[in-house]
């Protein structure tokens, strides 16, 4: 069999129906990847429109109403259509069964159903845009969300539906991790990305139902005036915030835990050194998932909680810093005395360490009640969560894409271009969001289409660099897809980074339709660089 006719999941079976009805986790992952990146660009485009509106004070490009729609859609699309589904749905789907040596996830049909449920929910979100948008902010706070005449119902319905996709993916992954591992692959021999997906899935199946029921209550409030969130009818709008953040704070960890997992894979492989503190990293994942459920009140310090609950929520919030710090230090210690190579995935991983640390530390500022009263709803918050979500999750996602691109698709991108783009993302990101910390400290509130003269300098600076950031991300992604078009194939047996996990050592690139040509046998742990030598092999 020549190389070109060799069977892999991309070329076998053929035909559009074999894709639309596929039960293959790799193909489903690929479909998630394409739709996720599509929404990423859509959300990013909206962000750029907002940034250009903010380049100067006054309404230059868009009106206040359009601006309100823009930030709502930017948030909702990025969070519910891209970040939450993208890493577990795309990279998780492609990699999880390979990493545990399984032929597929536990429930392939359910997996395909998840994808279609996600697409169906996305249709509602798209309908919202065509029908004139929604202006409540992605948090849909009552009482405004029960009164707004914009498309609150289609959007919340879309989110409700996507929630089910998230739950089903979580269920599928948990069952896969528990029951589908090959013999000998014990919990402590699992790649840390699998641990991260496990933590993520746990949060998905336990937090998402609460979001679902909250969205139902919100819709019923609009349709039937049930009064649960309406003070005029004896209800409590703050209860909505409690419900919403009981999901949405853990959801932050749905977004960041898989990113931690990606970084835990990239750093040891590209430093060619055994991961430092494997069990610490594994358990810190679970403890973050757990503590994440106890801190939702820190989003509501200005919503009229009792001082006692403010103190308790603030106190518990600091605990999140411990497992997160454990991870950061473990990654740094992994690199120490390793053979660090500045490959594109590693560039993103290093960016991540820098950006996420800033994001995490400013989170501690916001967790302090006294400071938060001042910083609440300012650009400081905006900068903080972009450092965590974009500087953390999306940078890690890009790193993961570059790391597993040759594995997943059997092609190699131009590494020089990729490195330049990675640098552009890093600089553009800091240029865009660092000024926003300063804006927030000086009192610039979020969600305004215009501002006072005193903020011009920082805002225009932020807008300038957001252009660089946008272009860099575009180049990074196009560079990846260009390798597809150019068919810059790698040898099916290649292992360009010298990875030690099953997807690198036991299957071809791109993998066989049934993952492994013969049942894989575990020969070493995921990061045993101190015991076994795995060559970097690339091309023929």
């Amino acid at each position: 069999m020549t190389e070109n006719t060799k069977q892999n999941y991309l070329n076998h079976p053929k035909g559009i129906m074999s894709w639309l009805l596929t039960l293959d986790h790799k193909r489903i992952g690929l479909m998630y990847l394409f739709s996720g990146i599509l929404f990423f660009f859509l959300g990013g485009l909206i962000a750029l429109v907002m940034r250009f509106e903010l380049a100067a004070p006054g309404n230059d490009i868009i009106s206040n109403d359009v601006y309100n729609n823009a930030y709502t859609l930017h948030g909702a699309i990025m969070i519910f259509l891209f970040i939450i589904p993208a890493i577990p749905g795309a990279l998780g789907n492609i990699l999880l069964p390979l990493m545990v040596g399984a032929k597929d996830v536990a429930f392939p049909r359910l997996n395909l159903a998840s994808f279609y449920i996600y697409s169906f929910g996305a249709l509602f979100a798209m309908y919202t845009i065509i029908n004139g948008g929604v202006d409540t902010g992605w948090t849909f706070y009552t009482p405004y969300s029960t009164q707004s005449t914009s498309n609150v119902v289609p959007m919340t319905l879309g989110i409700f539906i996507i929630g089910f996709s998230s739950i089903l993916t979580g269920l599928n992954f948990i069952a896969t991790i528990h029951k589908m591992r090959i013999p000998g692959l014990t919990w402590y021999k699992l790649p840390l990305f699998v641990w991260a997906l496990y933590g993520t899935s746990l949060v998905q199946i336990t937090a998402t139902p609460v979001l679902a029921i909250t969205m139902v209550l919100l819709m019923l409030e609009r349709f039937l005036g049930i009064g649960i969130f309406d003070p005029a009818l004896g209800g409590d709008p703050v209860l909505y915030q409690h419900f919403f953040w009981f999901y949405s704070h853990p959801a932050v960890y749905i977004m960041i835990l898989p990113a931690f997992g990606i970084i835990s894979e990239i750093i040891p492989v590209h430093s060619r050194k055994k991961i430092w503190g494997y069990k610490f990293i594994a358990y810190s994942t679970l403890s973050i998932a757990f503590i994440g459920f106890l801190v939702w009140g820190h989003h509501m310090f200005t919503s009229g909680q009792s001082v006692f609950s403010q103190i308790v929520f603030s106190f518990i919030t600091y605990f999140v810093g411990i497992p997160t710090g454990v991870k950061i230090f473990s990654w740094i210690l992994t690199m120490y005395k390793g053979q660090v190579s500045f490959t594109p995935p590693m560039m993103y991983a290093l960016s991540f360490l820098f950006l996420f640390t800033i994001g995490g530390l400013t989170g501690i500022f916001l967790g302090a009640v006294a400071l938060d009263i001042h910083l609440h709803d300012t650009y400081f918050v905006v900068a903080h969560f972009h450092y965590v979500m974009q500087g953390g999750t999306i940078v890690a996602f890009l790193g993961g894409l570059h790391h597993w691109w040759p594995k997943s698709f059997g092609v190699m991108y131009n590494q020089t271009v990729a490195n330049i783009a990675a640098l552009g993302v890093f600089i553009g990101f800091n240029g865009t969001f660092f000024p926003q910390f300063l804006l927030g400290l000086r009192g610039m509130p979020r969600r305004y289409a215009t501002y006072d003269e005193q903020f011009v300098e920082l805002h225009s600076y932020s807008t300038f660099w957001s252009g660089i950031l946008g272009i860099s991300i575009f180049i990074a992604v196009m560079n990846l897809f260009w390798s597809f078009i150019k068919k810059n194939k790698v040898d099916p047996g290649s292992n360009p980074w010298g990875g030690m996990t099953l997807e690198w050592t036991h299957t071809s690139s791109p993998p066989h339709p049934h993952n492994f040509e013969e049942d894989p046998v575990l020969q070493h742990g995921p990061y045993d660089y101190d015991k076994v030598i795995v060559e970097k092999t690339y091309k023929k």
Partner: protein, 219 residues
């Protein structure tokens, strides 16, 4: 490599090593799903607790507007249906297909009776206007003094409504089980779907066991 091994049991999917792994995986995922269900209802239980503590007197008086006898009847019906569901699984384990189908039909009928009684309760409430939120219009002598009784009925209708939806979904699943068992697709060798739907059905029962005292009994 692709397709089924001709020697392996008919129901074994190719991506599992053996029947036991497949069974364990289904069961594990089902329990995880049950956890999801519990959390869905948990949000509503929280709403119940919050408003009960806000309006304790109203909750006590408003609950007297519910029909305890119908609630009790439904409790008995649903617990019995859990028993027949369990018996259906026991029968299929003993390879007694006929008894299993019989028990499933009984479960289905009990579920139907439950929804029927629920319908009678709901239609009475619609008639007198004991409805959620803005639609509440009941002004009977036993309710004029109540403070925000529509909140009680909002929570009552949402919780029992969501539970009723689960009963209806359960009926659909049980109907499918009746068909599959009757056709001989489920046997003592392979009855995983019945066991999974059984777990779901017991959850539906269990939630009602909480709803009944919370709404009908606690005074």
């Amino acid at each position: 490599m692709s397709g089924h091994d001709p020697n392996s049991p008919r129901h074994l999917k190719h991506y599992f090593h053996d029947v036991n792994q497949q069974y364990e995986t289904s069961k594990f995922a089902m329990w995880a799903f049950i956890l999801t269900e519990v959390l869905t209802f948990a949000g509503l239980f929280v709403a119940y607790i919050v408003y009960r503590s806000w309006y304790p007197d109203m909750f006590i008086d408003a609950h007297k507007l519910l029909d305890v006898n119908k609630g009790l009847m439904n409790t008995i019906v649903l617990i019995t249906s859990s028993l027949t569901m369990a018996l259906a699984i026991w029968a299929i384990q003993k390879n007694n297909r006929k008894l299993s189908v019989l028990m499933l039909v009984a479960t289905f009928l009990f579920a139907f009776v439950f929804l029927g009684i629920k319908y009678l309760e709901y239609s009475h409430k619609f008639e007198v206007g004991q409805l959620p939120g803005e639609f509440y219009s009941y002004m009977g002598p036993d309710a004029v003094h109540l403070n925000n009784p529509h909140i009680f009925f909002s929570i009552y209708f949402i919780m029992t409504g969501l539970h009723g939806l689960h009963v209806a979904i359960g009926m659909g699943l049980i109907a499918w089980l009746i068909y599959s068992t009757y056709k001989g697709n489920l046997t003592s060798e392979y009855y995983t779907p019945m066991e999974m739907i059984g777990i779901f059905w017991h959850l539906v029962d269990l939630i009602w066991i909480y709803l009944f005292p919370l709404f009908y009994l606690i005074g």
